[in-house]
Amino acid sequence: MLEVNPGLIVWTIITFVLLLLVLRKFAWGPLIESLERREEHIRNSIERAEQARSEAEKMMEENRRRLASAEQEGQRILTESRALAEKLKDEIVEKANQQSRSMIEHAHHEIERAKEAALAALRGEVATLAIRVAEKILDETLDEKRHRKLIDSSLDTLPVN
């Protein structure tokens, strides 16, 4: 059982070496190469994915920041415009009030003046009428000048209205 057969050794070595040479060229070489390529590919993919993830995270953070600032800006604009509107409203109301007051005053003046004018006209008319009536009654006995003074004084005692 322990006898060595040199022929078998030779055949074994020949077979093994041929097998090794052929497989190294056509099987193990490409296999190991493709294995390394695949590992490289996977490593790259993971790296890229990691990079993309961190980029997306950064972008999201940026978006969140922008959103917050936009909200703040909107709030600010709203507040500002509200204040502006308030001020504008106050101004307009104030102006309208003033205008209305001045218009009322103006109207008062107008009325006063018209009344005065009417009273003056009335007074003149009444005096003339009274003189005419008195003339008629007394007939030419009385001096016109004296009478006018008399009537005027009596009229002054009358109440204004």
Binding site: N5, L8, F16, W28
Partner: protein
């Protein structure tokens, strides 16, 4: 063969007459030693192979004389099984190699072979030999799978383990020896390789040290050769012995036990087939790694 037959025949004399086996099938009525002889024939190399259609004779060439050495290059049973293993490995590896170049994602057998390749690279080659060892991957992969297929062929009906023949394991060990020396010389340079053989001791001790170191180079591979051979043939002999018990006791009552044990040992053999192929490859890679790194380690390192 005469050695074994004689021993078993001798053993027969110590057995009581009642246990003696007379040939079951043959009409010759010979001693039971013939049965063991015939069973052992199964693990021994021969010029005939068993097939389901009977025994076939293999061509017998006259010995060739090369440089004064006479070599019988006849195709024996074990040569045939070496070739069958090589053919199976060749077919699978070529299939995987071609398929793998096209597809980025492996599938089927490709996956299996790839996992072996990755295991070899990450668990055996790189830890033992460093990154530079990847260059020797094709050799180690071929060794592992070639031995594995030869081992497994012995477990098939009509099959034989070529690795159960010391000449085959010697051939593998010789290739391993050459690879170990070549890788050491390649990584260290020839000068450092020779310097390593002195063991780094004082020059006066060189006459002792150099033979020891040179012997050390050979014993590693001698051990590889013997380990693989003994493990493979041992399992087969155990299985055959269990089967042989049936003939020895000449009763079918023993058959269930025999078959049960033989089945158990066969399963163990299945594991051993993988284990021994792995050990051979792993040790080769370890020795190559030691040789490659010896120059970097401090002088006087012993192994």
């Amino acid at each position: 063969m005469p050695f074994d037959a004689a021993r078993i025949a001798g053993l027969q004399e110590y057995l009581p007459d009642s246990v003696r086996v007379t040939s079951h099938t043959g009409g010759g009525g010979d001693v039971g030693g013939d049965i063991f002889g015939k069973l052992l024939q199964h693990v021994r190399d021969s010029h005939e192979i068993d097939t389901p259609w009977g025994e076939l004779s293999l061509p017998h060439y006259p010995p060739v004389s090369i440089g004064g050495v006479t070599i019988d290059l006849s195709i024996t049973k074990h040569v045939l099984f070496v070739w069958i293993a090589a053919l199976i490995l060749f077919t699978i590896a070529m299939m995987v190699g071609r398929k793998n170049r096209r597809a980025m994602v492996p599938s089927g057998v490709g996956n299996l072979i790839e996992s072996i390749v990755v295991f070899m690279r990450d668990e055996v080659v790189v830890p033992n030999m460093g990154k530079g060892g990847v260059r020797y991957m094709p050799y180690l992969l071929t060794t592992f799978l070639f031995i594995l297929f030869m081992n497994l062929l012995g477990l098939l009906p009509y099959g034989a383990s070529a690795t159960g023949n010391i000449s085959v394991t010697a051939g593998l060990a010789i290739v391993s020896f050459i690879m170990i020396q070549l890788s050491a010389i390649r990584e260290q340079g020839f000068g450092r390789y020779l310097a390593h053989l002195t063991g780094g001791v004082h020059w006066a001790l060189w006459p002792i040290m150099i033979p020891i170191e040179v012997l050390g180079l050979f014993t590693k591979n001698f051990a590889l050769c013997m380990r693989l051979f003994a493990n493979m043939i041992g399992g087969h002999i155990v299985i055959l012995s269990f089967i042989g018990l049936i003939f020895l006791f000449k009763t079918y009552l023993i058959a269930p036990a025999s078959i049960g044990f033989a089945l158990g040992v066969s399963m163990l053999e299945l594991f051993v087939a993988f284990l021994q192929a792995y050990i051979f490859t792993r040790l080769t890679s370890l020795f190559m790694g030691l040789g490659m790194q010896a120059g970097h380690a401090e002088a006087g390192e012993s192994h």
